[in-house]
Structure formats: structure tokens, C-alpha cells
Amino acid sequence: MKLSVWTYEGPPHVGAMRVATGMTGLHYVLHAPQGDTYADLLFTMIERRNHRPPVSYTTFQARDLGSDTATLFKDAARDAYERFQPQAMIVGASCTAELIQDDPGGLAEALNLPIPVIPLELPSYQRKENFGCDETFFQIVRALASPIERTPEVTCNLIGPTALGFRHRDDVEELTRLLADIGISVNVVAPMGSAPADIARMGAAHFNVLMYPETGEAAARWCERELGQPFTKVVPIGVGATRDFLSEVAVITGLPCKADESRLRLPWYSASVDSTYLTGKRVFIFGDGTHVAAAARIARDEMGFEVAGLGCYNREMARPIRALAKDFGVEALITEDYLEVEDAIRELQPEMILGTQM
């Protein structure tokens, strides 16, 4: 038991919702009590989407426990199929449903629906939101993708962006343009923007761009193993990282990969005299591992700041972030307790705080 006033991540089924909501033609049947529908407002209000997440909640109540929660689940799954006619369905349990052990996967299978039904095992009392994204996307890819003929020209998939991601929409747009500049077109962007039919086409790409290890690494590794697709390890955020990313793509594809830098302004802005006041400003960086790593490099190497401290809240990224911190000569703070982050900031007295969360 741990007292929490604020959490960086939601439960893992919210991660599954981020995957489902980013996609089209997919429906998520979630065994959950009344109240778990609050998660809809993360998407309709916080992300301001104009449609409801494609999620049906079974809404079981106390009086259903021990009698017919399994029937409720089967009815909800059947109704959802009939009403929404999805190409594929994911099924799973929220934290409370996990305790009553109804086995949504088995129940859904027994319905013999004429579409792929993908069961999710998301341990609510051990794991969190990012794991939920990563695992859900991985299970969808594993169930729907298979080796197919490659496109004649060099193409790639962009994998990792989800609904409610930190700047995911902008990143997809910019990366697509960057790749187009060097003559590589995008085969599939997933999970955000894809339908199950698109997931089945993923094997046509020559390689994968892993945009965010948090949400796409398990799928990237599976594709590498089963579809023979290498994936990029550098996340192209920042000038240096983008240049490294292009070198990596050049090695993978054998293409020259020279980007058009005529619109790139950071190097000159940083070199210009009015940026001298930024020199040596002490910054503290905390957030998800991917963005912290990117921001640390930008801060030190591209802005001339001094990184006074850094860390991440997602333990899955603890190892690379610790290694990064060592390289920066600081101690990494790996915690999900914002009070510890507050203490670290108070102690370090930085002049600026960079973060993906408030």
C-alpha cells in the first residue's frame, strides 16, 4: 500500500485505451465497474477529441458479483460487435475485474465472433499506463501482422504514437515530412491512425521507426524477430539526435539520407549573440524516459545549459536514464512520487525545470 496524491501514470487499461482510441476499426471491451468510464474524458476533454473512445464498459455492480458478471461481459462484447462492426476487438479487465477473475479472453473466444479477438493481460496492481500501451500494441501486432511482400521502394512504419501522447501528432507529421525529404515514404503509422487492416500490412515496410520506446518497443522487437524488420534506436527529437537518426536510417537502408536543413533554425539561434545569456543556466529535467533523454541532450549540447539533475517516472526506462545521467555527471532520479521530485528540485535550486508532466 502506498499513499498517492498524484500519479504520473494511470493504470494499464488506460494505456490500452490510448492504443484503441488512436486506432480506427478496433473496439475495446473492458470488464469494469461503473465509474471507470471517467477515462473517456481523458480523451474527449483533456485531448479534446471529437469522438468517444471505442470502448464498451460492462458496468457491473455489487449485486452482480458472484452471480452473472461473466454474462454481462459476454452481452457487452456481443452488443459491441453488433453495434460497431469493428475489424478486430481487444478484450480485458480493469483493476476490479481482475480481482473477480472472469477471464474476458476466454469468454470472448466462446462467442465465436467472426473477427480477431485479442485478449489482454494487464496486471493492474503491478504495472502502469505505459506498459498498457506497449503490451496492447504488441498483442495487436502479434495477432494481426505476418510476413508479407515488401514494397518495391524503401518504406518504413512509424510505431509508438498513441492517443493522449505527449506531442505525438506533431511528431508524426514532422517525421513523415523528414522521411519524405530523403525519399522514404511511410507505410503504416501505428497504433495512432491505423486500422487492424493496416496492422496486417506492416510487414510490407523495410524497417520500423520506433518513435517512443515506452509505447512501441515490444512491438518493434517482435517485428524485428518475426518480420525481419530492423528498427531505429535513436529517437529523432533535437538537432543532434535527428542527425544521428538519419545516419542510422542511412545504414539500415543504404540510402544517402541527407536532409534538407534549410528550415532548421536552432543551430543559428543558439550560436547568435542574444543566446549567450542562456549559457550555463541550470536546468532540471523530469518526465518520461524518452523525452528526458532527448531534452537532456538538447539542453546541454544545443542550448548550452547545465543539466543539474534528471530523471524519469517510468521504471521501464530506468536503465538507459541511469546511464545517461552518468554521462551527464549527475545522479538519476527514478521515482513515481512527485514529492521526491519536489525535494530534488528544492535541493538543486535549478533556474529552469523541463518536464512532460506538470
Binding site: 498524484w6 500519479t7 501514470e9 465509474g35 468510464t37 477515462a39 474524458l41 476533454m45 453495434r83 476490479t96
Partner: protein, 428 residues
């Protein structure tokens, strides 16, 4: 001026057939009540014993910003607590001790049950007794359930207030007890009006602080300010108190009827009542007339949310000239909602419970001028071309009694007005 509202000529809705639905509910669970209850009770801390989902719900619903440490939190159950590896009670005791040590301002602690704590049958009432003994006299520990398997949104407040009834001191005095968490400014207006009529002593539940003099006994009469406090009302009756049934104090008419019911219980004469209420009634009418201009002749469709739906539909139809097409409430309780149902003109579909997909089909077919719904539905319906009002704002905004009656009408007319003022097309 007449004091008693006239029933609608074509009859009310008390005996209207109720469409009872069961299915997916697009509503919050009772934990959400903590967001307004912790503001109301200034020395209370609400400790949810639940999962990461509960914590995430609270911070998402409350839009928690950590500028100051809020007086609520979640003791998140972990794998070890479920597998019986750790004694969940010992863990809870430790977390509570740590919390109370850090927060000496806390005088009452509510242990709030959640779906997971109910399912694993963690006995929070025994935990509350045990912790009360440990931390007495400084801190009183109570418990209630805000779980989604047992409570719908505002029922959380009902469960919380109900948990306080057994520990209220006993009294034989004839006192008026006003029940329901209202913003302080509204509460002050309410008490001011009643005191001006010579009614007193007036006690409040919840009181702002634990040391306030709220007591209950056979000579207590109580009035509810919120339509979702059925369990609390039953508990108060159990301690001998008498309920004053009335329409709820929304709008000029509802407020007058509510005040009149209390005044008549205390034998206030008509002159005194008029002297106290005439001026604010006139102000309220004027404010409503202004704010409801855009509502007149329009239709409204209520999704179930807070149990405020029936009294608000009564206000919109009778005082703002709207026509209700469907009025859905999570629960309908005739003892509480009856006086408002009597006044709501016959016609709308009255619905209890929810099957959200079917209700969305009805809302799309009805295409009301204004659809009142939860946050999960509002933007998607706007995108379909419907004009919506977020129901939750009605719970968080001061809307009761005379001085807020204009604002209440304004909450409904603003979305319609906005439709009219936005010009996003090219000028030519």
C-alpha cells in the same frame, strides 16, 4: 405574490411511466464527491483505499494541480496487499499514522472504500474504529464507500454524510438541520434568509469544522438542499428527526417553495415571509428573465448524471420556457424527487438508470436544442452538431437559492448563445 407553486394544468410527472434501463453507464463513481466534500469540510482528509485507477480518476476528474497539498489521496493497493503477503490493515495503519503526523491540521479522516477494497472485502469500518481509538481525541476516523459497484457520482456525498449521522451528538432541542454540501457563500445566503424569518437554531450537515455544533434528535427537523441524499435522510429519521419534503431550491420558484416549506414548519407568518423574500424573489426573477432569453421555446434532453436532473428540468420548463424531451436520472426516489415531479409538466420521457448506447440513439433522434450530459459525451455530441451542457458543472458551480438563479439559467443559455456568436466561415 403566491408562495405555493401551481401544479401544471396538464398534470405533472409523478405518475409518468419510467423507462428503466440497465447497461453501460457513462457516469462517475461516488469517489468523485470527495472533490467538493474536501473543500467544504476544512479539517477533513479523505483517504481512498483503492487502486491506481481510483487515484487517476480523482486527479483527472478534479484536474488536480499540486499547488498545495490537497486534503485527499489514495492508498494504492499493490500486489502484496492482495495476495495476503502483507497485512493490509497493518499497511493502512502505517500510512494513516504517517499522514496524520505530516498533517496536524487534519481532525477528521474518512476512509473511503473503492471497488477493489469492496471486492477483496477489506473491512474499513473495523479499520476506522481501530484508528479512531489510536488517534483519539485529536482525530475522528469514519468510513464510507464511494465505490462504483455501489455508488453513482453524487451518491458518494450521500454515503459520506450518512456515515456522520451515527456520531452526531444527541439533542432534544428543536433545531433546524440543513443537509447537503453547498458552497460557503450559498450556505450563508440560505442561513441568512431563514434567520431573517426568525428560524433557529440552524445547524448544518456537513459542518465546516468538526467542532461546529451539529446535533440530532427527536425534535430536529431537517431539510435537504440536494436531491441525492436519500440514505442520509433515512439515517436522520432513524435518529428521530423529521424530514421537511419540498421541491429543491433551484430557481426563484423552487427556492420560494423550499423556504416556504421550512417557514411553515416553523410557523412563520405570511408577512414575515414576504418581507424576507420579496426583494430577492424579484431580483431572481429579473436575473432569470435576462439569462433565459435564449432558452425560451427551446427543447432540452437530460442524460443521467447527478440526480439533479428532475429539479433542474422543473426549473428549465417552468421558469425558462423550455420543453423537456427526456429527463433521465441515475435513480429516482419519490420521497425526495416527488415534489419536483409534481411540478414538472407532463410530456418528457422520464428515465432511470442508463444504457448509454441506446440513450445516445434517442438523443440523436430527439436532437434537442440543448443536451445535458457528462464530460465523456459532450464533445463527441458537439461534433455531431448537438449543443451540450456539461452536467458536472451544475454540481461544482453555486446554483442554489435566489442569488444564483440567474447564473443557473446562464449555465444553460451560454452554450446556445455561443453557437450564435461563433462565425468561423470566410466572410464572403
Amino acid at each position: 405574490m403566491t408562495v405555493q407553486p401551481t401544479p401544471p394544468p396538464q398534470g405533472g410527472c409523478r405518475n409518468a411511466p419510467v423507462l428503466k434501463e440497465r447497461g453501460q453507464r457513462e457516469v462517475f463513481c461516488g469517489l468523485t464527491g470527495i472533490i467538493w466534500l474536501h473543500r467544504k469540510m476544512q479539517d477533513a482528509f479523505f483517504l481512498v483505499v483503492g487502486s491506481r485507477t481510483c487515484a487517476h480518476l480523482l486527479q483527472s476528474a478534479a484536474g488536480v494541480m499540486i499547488f498545495a497539498e490537497p486534503r485527499f489521496g489514495t492508498a494504492i493497493l499493490e500486489e502484496g496487499d492482495l495476495a495476503g503477503l502483507k497485512d493490509a490493515n497493518a499497511e493502512l495503519d502505517r500510512e494513516v499514522a504517517r499522514l496524520l503526523e505530516r498533517r496536524p491540521d487534519i481532525r477528521q479522516l474518512f476512509l473511503v472504500g473503492s471497488c477493489p477494497s469492496e471486492v477483496i472485502k477489506l473491512d474499513l469500518s473495523r479499520a476506522a474504529e481501530r484508528l479512531s481509538q489510536t488517534h483519539a481525541p485529536r482525530v475522528r476516523v469514519l468510513n464510507y464507500s464511494g465505490s462504483g459497484i455501489e455508488t453513482t457520482f453524487t451518491e458518494g456525498e450521500d454515503a459520506c454524510l450518512c456515515s456522520m449521522v451515527p456520531v452526531l451528538p444527541a439533542t432534544d432541542a428543536r433545531e433546524l438541520l440543513l443537509v447537503g454540501a453547498l458552497p460557503d457563500v450559498v450556505e450563508d445566503q440560505m442561513v441568512g434568509l431563514l434567520e431573517a424569518m426568525g428560524i433557529g437554531p440552524i445547524r448544518l450537515l456537513p459542518a465546516r469544522k468538526i467542532d461546529d455544533e451539529t446535533a440530532v434528535g427527536p425534535n430536529t427537523v431537517f431539510a435537504l438542499t440536494q436531491p441525492f441524499l436519500g440514505e442520509t435522510a433515512a439515517a436522520l429519521r432513524g435518529r428521530g428527526a423529521t424530514h421537511i419534503a419540498a421541491p429543491f431550491p433551484f430557481g426563484e420558484e423552487g427556492t420560494t417553495a423550499w423556504l416556504a416549506a421550512v417557514a411553515s414548519e416553523f410557523g412563520v407568518d405570511a408577512e414575515t415571509f414576504a418581507a424576507v423574500t420579496d426583494a430577492p424573489r424579484a431580483r431572481a426573477r429579473k436575473a432569470i428573465a435576462q439569462a433565459s432569453e435564449g432558452l425560451n421555446g427551446k427543447t432540452v434532453f437530460f442524460f443521467p448524471d447527478s440526480q439533479l436532473e428532475i429539479p433542474l428540468a422543473r426549473f428549465l420548463t417552468r421558469e425558462c420556457g423550455m420543453t423537456a424531451l427526456e429527463v433521465a436520472s441515475p435513480y429516482i426516489n419519490h420521497a425526495l424527487h416527488g415534489p419536483d415531479l409534481d411540478l414538472l409538466p407532463a410530456g418528457p420521457q422520464i428515465a432511470e438508470g442508463q444504457d448509454v448506447e441506446k440513450q445516445l440513439d434517442r438523443a440523436r433522434a430527439a436532437r434537442a436544442d440543448l443536451t445535458v450530459c457528462g464530460l465523456g459525451l459532450a464533445n463527441p455530441l458537439e461534433a455531431e452538431g448537438l449543443t451540450t451542457k456539461w452536467a458536472i458543472e451544475l454540481v461544482f458551480t453555486p446554483v442554489h437559492f435566489y442569488e444564483q438563479a440567474g447564473d443557473l439559467a446562464g449555465l444553460f443559455s451560454r452554450p446556445l448563445r455561443r453557437r450564435g456568436v461563433l462565425k468561423l466561415e470566410a466572410a464572403e
